[in-house]
């Protein structure tokens, strides 16, 4: 059986599934339950400065969007960092870490952008025996209005500065948590690295309004007739997170910088996808908030089964394995030509492929008597929309035209050689193929 244990920055955990800093990790009671359920680690709910804790709203903190049967697809929140006293959290962290030495316990921290504030809190966190810290430069709501959270994460210079302070006053690993509410994720990642960060974690939540109450004209969640943007997470954000993780993983300036992947991890497969794109482990929140801590059991069994099937004995065997295959559009092979193929046996004749292609794509599917749908090779550009809208898995597939075959759409013979946009005659900036 595969070994799921991970060594992330020297922090060992029995599996790569950590709970992200969020409501599930707000106190000892929850974290103990999480560890009993099998989670490999937790990032404790973000700590603030000594003194009176922040207060939360007393109305709804969460909003959501749903798919079929109210399956939760996206969740947003306007909850702030921990609203419990710093001392209480620190005491609890120390107790839990002592009782679960084999699990990772990371302290998430958010204090003002002043050296003194960081200098004050770091030794106290160190006393708990926590395995490392995560700098919360991500939360996009509430705290950002006070110059913290994503307000820091959006300014690479601040990231670098604060990271440097932390490396100076704390001797265990420092993870910088990034906000996706920026235009180029590589900039803050580079800043973190320049500041000496041991790793980055991403993504934090995305600015969002989940819905609007059309009777009251209020954004949701609504507090006494008003709403504020919240941080969006859950399955819906996974594609955004995967892309951002991969950008950092393949950026020459941050290449090799460890990454903790966050954003919509709901199943073992999601976790594996983050990891092959460069994440050394993953952090989960919404799945646990939706289904409870027990979901980790499926993540563990699923990842383990997949590793066995693929012959991976340890997680390091596959971490980052897909990174070399993430490239720029201009390097995609333009001589790779496919055509849609409809399996008539599997087809249930709903006609969605036809409607999609006829109305919104390339008129490349014919509807014949008896509701038989056939691809017109001379029109098919292989866009994949028919595959995406077909309700039957594997009913429509993309089949590669072998070199030497003729593409009926262009009348040209498929070439065996790789060729991309950089050398294409239509590209004004094309360089000679030589």
């Amino acid at each position: 059986m595969a070994d799921l244990s991970t060594d992330f920055l020297g922090i060992k955990s029995p599996n790569p599934f950590w709970l992200a800093s969020a409501p599930p990790t707000d106190k000892e009671y929850n974290v103990r339950r999480a560890f009993e359920a099998g989670w490999g680690g937790v990032v404790w709910k973000t700590l603030g400065e000594e003194g009176p804790p922040v207060v939360n709203v007393n109305g709804p903190r969460y909003g959501a969007i749903w798919g079929a049967d109210r399956r939760l697809l996206g969740l947003n929140n306007i909850e702030l960092i921990t609203d419990r006293p710093l001392e209480t959290n620190l005491e609890e962290m120390a107790r839990v870490k002592a009782d679960y030495p084999d699990r990772a316990l990371i302290a998430s921290i958010m204090v003002p952008c002043e050296e003194a504030s960081w200098k004050a809190i770091l030794p106290r966190v160190a006393e708990t025996g926590a395995d490392g810290i995560e700098l919360n430069f991500g939360c996009p709501h509430g705290m950002s209005e006070r110059g913290m959270g994503s307000a820091v994460g959006q300014v690479p210079e601040y990231i670098e500065m604060v990271t440097r302070w932390c490396k100076q006053y704390y001797d265990k690993p420092v993870i910088v948590k990034l906000t996706p509410n920026i235009t180029d994720i590589r900039k803050p990642a580079r800043a973190a690295k320049n500041g000496g960060a041991d790793a980055v974690s991403l993504i934090n939540t995305i600015n969002s309004i989940t819905a609007v109450d059309l009777d009251d004209m209020c954004p949701e969640p609504t507090i006494d007739g008003k709403g504020s943007h919240g941080g969006y997470c859950g399955p819906a954000v996974k594609p955004i997170a995967l892309s951002m993780v991969s950008e950092i993983a393949r950026d020459p300036e941050t290449y090799g910088l460890p990454i903790s992947g966050i954003g919509g991890v709901t199943t073992w497969r999601d976790a594996a996808e983050f990891m092959v794109l460069g994440a050394g482990n993953v952090q989960v929140c919404t799945a646990a908030m939706t289904y409870g801590f027990k979901v980790v059991q499926e993540m563990i069994s699923g990842l383990s089964q997949w590793m066995d099937e693929k012959g991976y004995s340890s997680t390091s065997d596959f971490i980052g394995k897909a990174v070399p295959n993430v490239t720029d559009w201009q390097h995609l092979n333009l001589n790779y030509i496919t055509k849609a193929r409809i399996d008539q046996e599997a087809c249930i004749k709903c006609g969605r492929c036809y409607a999609a292609c006829e109305d919104t794509s390339h008129q490349a599917i014919a509807m014949k008597p008896g509701r038989v749908f056939e691809v017109k090779d001379d029109e098919c550009v292989a866009c994949n929309l028919c595959v995406n809208v077909c309700p039957v898995e594997d009913c429509i597939t993309m089949e590669q035209l072998a070199p030497g075959a003729v593409d009926e759409r262009t009348g040209k013979t498929v070439e065996a050689d790789y060729a991309n946009w950089t050398t294409h005659p239509n590209n004004p900036a094309a360089t000679a193929a030589e």
């Binding site: 079929a68 049967d69 109210r70 249930i348 004749k349 709903c350 006609g351 969605r352 036809y354 409607a355 509807m367 509701r371 309700p391 039957v392």
Partner: protein
């Protein structure tokens, strides 16, 4: 002292009142809101949807289901009523398993179609519960139309004509409007006086007068109607019942299934209704199933449905047959009645087995008898009392196009007209289409 299923002969109150209430409750309880949303989400919104094609009234099913899924069941109901003003009743009585749901691609994919019938009921119930009538009349045309028969065909025709601005008078022989919806359908398919509520709701369009207790040959004549109105629509159904042509069928406790079904529907107190301990129903259609199942639900100990041909030829759908079987009705096929035996009242029925031969059904010579305290005939209805002068075709009023009869200015639709399949939904389509044709003729 109380009666039970084992009480000999005919007896009322074989079951406690609470069991009767349960037995005659809604066969398919309405979908709750969340159930409806989940059920609606299963629809693939097919292109040129097969379900829509299979619906005799061509309801835009994918559209109405999407309207439910997006939280606008009232709009969904409007989509349904645009095509089928009796969409509420059809949601309850349509054999969806042989129409829209049979061709649903989910049936192909998983053997479980989208629950179109129940979703239709959800939408139509929502709108009707709000007492909303989503149609208004056009400017009055000054034209008048007589509709004979207030069944599904007549009501659909009347509504569409009223909407076009014509003034309509609907005549019906019985005390209430609704036709078979009111008198001819098993109680558990239309509970809580739905048929009457639907008629009341339909009449909200305005411009329709209903006159009950009037029939052709009984206060009305086709010539008189033709003289008094600009057009006439006949939706008079099939009021004659075929006889068994078996010896002794005139004896006591032998009745037409349609009469039994009607009495049951109109009964105020089911525990006062007498039913036999041993009931035999002859026939293989929906009427036979309705009579057999309801006999069982009233507390008959043994109910047997006997059909002269094979099961594959029964006009009751597979679903209906399974319903009957699930309620404990025994179905005997390939047997035809030979004699009704009894002194003053039926005691036994003698059948002879049949087989399919080269020249049709052949008796095999082997006979058997079933004990029977009550025998219901359900071997089909026929046209009765059609006015003279109308060309008939196969025992029904011959029609061409959208219900045009051989007489100028006279249209017909529903069960009494040639073609069609004797379904409520088909009657609605025919009534509606005849109305459009009448409107075109009156506007010319």
């Amino acid at each position: 002292m109380g009666n039970s299923p084992f009480t000999p002969g005919l007896a009322a109150g074989r079951l406690p009142a609470k069991d009767l209430a349960t037995n005659f409750g809604d066969l398919h309880p309405p979908l709750e809101h969340h159930e409806a949303v989940v059920a609606a989400d299963r629809c693939y919104f097919c292109h040129d949807a097969p379900c829509m094609e299979a619906c005799p009234t061509s309801i835009d099913i994918p559209l109405f289901i999407r309207q439910i899924a997006t939280g606008t069941p009232e709009a969904a109901a409007k989509t349904i009523f645009d095509q089928n003003i009796l969409g509420g009743m059809c949601a309850r009585v349509c054999p969806t398993e042989t129409l829209c749901e049979e061709v649903c691609v989910r049936e192909t994919a998983e053997g479980k179609p989208v629950e179109i019938g129940r979703l239709q009921r959800y939408a139509t119930d929502t709108l009707m519960a709000a007492s909303l009538h989503p149609f208004t009349r056009a400017e009055p045309t000054g034209k008048t139309v007589a509709v004979v028969g207030a069944g599904p065909a007549g009501l659909a025709c009347a509504h569409r004509l009223a909407m076009k601005g014509h003034d309509v008078v609907v005549f019906d022989a019985r005390a209430k409007a609704g036709g078979l919806n009111e008198y001819g359908i098993a109680s558990y398919k239309s509970v809580d006086s739905f048929a009457q509520k639907e008629v009341d709701w339909l009449l909200q369009i305005g411009g329709i007068t209903v006159e009950t207790g009037k029939a052709l040959g009984d206060g009305l004549s086709l010539d008189g109607l033709k003289a008094d109105y600009d057009a006439v629509f006949l939706g008079i159904g099939l009021s004659g019942v075929n006889s068994l042509r078996a010896e002794g069928e005139d004896t006591g406790n032998v009745a037409d299934a349609v009469d039994f079904i009607r009495e049951l529907r109109q009964a105020g107190d089911l525990s006062a209704l007498k039913i036999g301990r041993n009931v035999v129903v002859i026939g293989g259609g929906m009427t036979a199933v309705d009579a057999a199942v309801q006999s069982k639900l009233l507390g008959a100990e043994n109910v047997t449905m006997v059909y002269r041909r094979g099961q594959d030829r029964m006009s009751a759908s597979e679903y209906e047959q399974e319903l009957a079987a699930s309620k404990g009705v025994r179905i005997v096929t390939h047997a035809m009645p030979k004699a009704v035996i009894g002194n003053g009242a039926v005691r036994e029925v003698e059948f002879e087995y049949t087989k399919d031969g080269p020249n049709g059904l052949e008796p095999t010579g082997e006979t058997f008898r079933l004990p029977a305290d009550q025998l219901f005939r359900a071997i089909g209805q026929r046209l009765k009392g059609a006015p003279d002068g109308l060309t008939l075709d196969g025992g029904k009023i011959a029609v061409t196009g959208a219900g045009r009869t051989s007489l100028d200015g006279v249209w017909a639709g529903g069960d009494c007209a040639s073609g069609g399949d004797d379904l409520t939904v088909t009657a609605v389509a025919e009534g509606r289409d005849a109305a459009e044709d009448i409107h075109a003729a009156l506007s010319a």
